[in-house]
Subunit: 191 residues, 6 copies
């Protein structure tokens, strides 16, 4: 990791963004007050079309970018990067470092993320939660499946993005499957 | 996908066939009335020796072939192809297309299969179910494990194939394990 | 597999050792009375930092080695080898054979392990269990998580090894996560 | 491997068939005199669109099937199965056995194939070569690239199959590339 | 691929950018006159530290971004996305589509890239070359290794980026190795 | 990496050992004077049966162990661990750390190995070469293939180990192949 102070101070923020919601927006707004640039990692980039991961990396990229545009956050302030999962937890941090520009601090509340970075002596700080009980991707997907109001949990542009790709319909179909290629992406691991 | 009409009209039918049962037989009989040739994909070909996937691709190949022979369905009418899972749902259709002869229509009732092919503008049609409540591989495996009559759910030749490889004994052993290499094939993902 | 009798008689013993406990110790002590040398496989070597597999292969290697040293079992009597999982159950035995020195017998009580080796005509014998109800890695991890006495289930040196890497703290953090890189290593499959 | 003599005597024949040519045809004709059924493996099934492997598994499947039909070899006499490569040479035979119906003998002249099967105590016999200096896939591809007569080396139906997919044009384009996704499939290994 | 005309017209441009040079800059400048937004794919994202691919995806990301900033190309005009290679050429296009925002046209001069996209009925157009004989990444790396002037072939900011990570020194060391983990990344394929 | 000084000072030494020869023996003898314990990594553990990597990890394990026994180096002084390659150079060091006991210094003369560890701030020291022009695995394999005296380059026990597995015969067969599963292991990458 670069420590050169002539480069901007960068923070790393990781999510799966299945989908991107107002909690993510608020976290990014706050983090951008602390760092010059934010490296936003779209995690589990290889996954899509399963119940916990309905959207492709490209679809999620569009959601994040559209939402940040809508909020007038200049794209010069952040880096938005899809990164596939690693087959070993123990090399995951090295893989993130290989895909991302250098960063000086990781923002995360997740105990495992925090630990993996800390075990490699990388600085980890917390993110203030913004009404986590509703602003969670699990809650958004739950509402999508049960026909409840999920739109109030995401930026307007994300609702449009989801509609454009018939995202709710896709999620409902994923909930019905019991097919050979299954409900979990992990069941499709090759060979 | 080839659209050349000088080639026969081919339909694609996908299953894991764990094991091949009378519901599959009936579906294939009906589909062969609609198309010149049927491409039968043995899905999740890499899996075996787990509770949901007890049989190898080779064992399943033998079951399907023996059963179709027994029914006097000429092997010239179908193509029987093992295909391993793909690590990404989003490339799975491309992988099927790469392994199979060209086809013009996919027969499936599974919502996810239907959606993945439809997202790529491939024609999908339904398969009429034949007493799905009993003719399901899950039910066959349940009966095998609980000592109930599973033979009435499969073609006679498949019962023989299962016996030849001591298939019921294998399934029961898989149900007892809690070993390092686990009950789920997915726990054996490499690296 | 070598059958040459000028080489020592070797037995194979496989475990994940998450962590290594007194039941493993007792099994190894008994097996060393039956064979000249024991090949001890650290299975699922690629896994770590998940609830069922908290420790890395290297950490588990240290635990086994330290415990056997503590028991005055000379390292000349055994071979201690990490082996990653295979993506196909059906090739797992071939992979073990490729990583290990030649062996003549596999010691295992696990029904699936026994079956996979037997299907390849390899001799399998049972291991006498030593108070299996408490001496199990699952029980050790359960006690670690619930703050109960796990130390009495492992050799003193293993307790020290776990403490040195703050292993209990790691396990508790793994239990709290719901992060993108998840609680299960299998969710990190590449691509 | 099954040894049950109530099942037919089966031989295994492996090729990449890039493309299928008259030498393969002749070998299969001779082998079908020795066994009841022939298991024909389309090796390196995952490869296509590189200089040594221009055709997909599905395209090669069509070539073999069309050629054997043209020769009036009944499809009941053979099994035609795509099998992807294995990441370890040492487990490759186990993978073939997992994908294929049971077989009693392997026909191959290739020293490495012969050795890998022999190391596992599987019977290997030779295939009589039919004018190997011209009937080789390497020679066919060389002629395709240099504009020479490749059609005389393949069955008429294969020439048609190659034409239908503009196969020569594809090969020539592969020869011109120096792109990021390269001339060799191996450069596209994931992760 | 989305065809919705309410979204901007997007072009796709793929490179490995090992390293990013003035030819890439010129191509991007021209392409931005033809489309609303350019999706720039950093191909072979998983590769680094080999002779043909010395730089990590993260390092290449920084090079492209810094160079486009230096040219006053607003980051709102482009999307910069690392994508790992696919293990099958035949699914590579599907993988690109899964990682990228929807696009309507691919710009490429590479025969293989052109073919793979065309086989899936995606529009492909050419890129005008800008003095290709010198502005090639191969030439830049050659000059780096031989101590010649490579700086004149890259944007000033890229020269700084390379210097900051001691890139030339790394490349020279890669040229000297004959180590177990080799000169080619492909020799490190897992398992 | 552990820095705890109550644990022994350990050095890391990496090789493919295809095969293990007198140069390796001499290096290990010298390194054992500098550290309490040596962690010896059998690299590229997944490879075998190709021209550059004829021997399996298990066969190489036996060679190293037998040779060190023959030299009266107690097995308590070293750790001998097979580690498969990583699909990304940039995570290879993290993978080694995950498989091995903690170490404080890496001994290597290879420029790439040295660099990868140094980029992660791990101490690297040189190994004195012992007549490198003849004591190289490449030279041993060359002599094996050409029928020259390779035995004088390896410990007597290694010559016996090679003979027991008909190693020279295997290498010569590998040199003759041009089969589907090729001369290079990398051509067998899965999927």
């Amino acid at each position: 990791m670069e420590m050169d102070r002539s480069v901007p101070r960068r923070g790393l923020y990781i999510g799966r963004f299945q989908p991107f919601h107002l909690g993510h927006v608020e976290a990014i707004r706050r983090l951008l007050k602390k760092v010059d640039e934010l490296v936003i990692i779209i995690g589990s980039a290889q996954r899509s079309h399963d119940l916990d991961n309905p959207f492709t990396a490209g679809e999620r990229y569009v959601m994040v970018r559209d939402a940040l545009n809508e909020m007038d956050i200049p794209s010069a302030r952040y880096h938005l990067l899809p990164v596939p999962d690693s087959p070993m937890h123990s090399v995951w941090v090295a893989q993130i470092e290989s895909y991302a520009p250098p960063f000086q601090v990781v923002y995360s509340n997740d105990p495992l993320t925090r630990r993996l970075f800390k075990e490699l002596r990388i600085t980890v700080e917390s993110v203030e939660f913004y009404r986590r009980e509703v602003f969670s991707a699990t809650e958004v997907r739950r509402r999508m499946l049960s026909g409840q109001n999920w739109r109030e949990l995401v930026p307007p542009s994300v609702a449009e993005d989801v509609d454009r790709i018939s995202g709710v319909e896709r999620l409902k179909e994923l909930a019905m499957t019991d097919s050979p290629f299954g409900r979990k992406n992990s069941e499709l691991t090759t060979m």
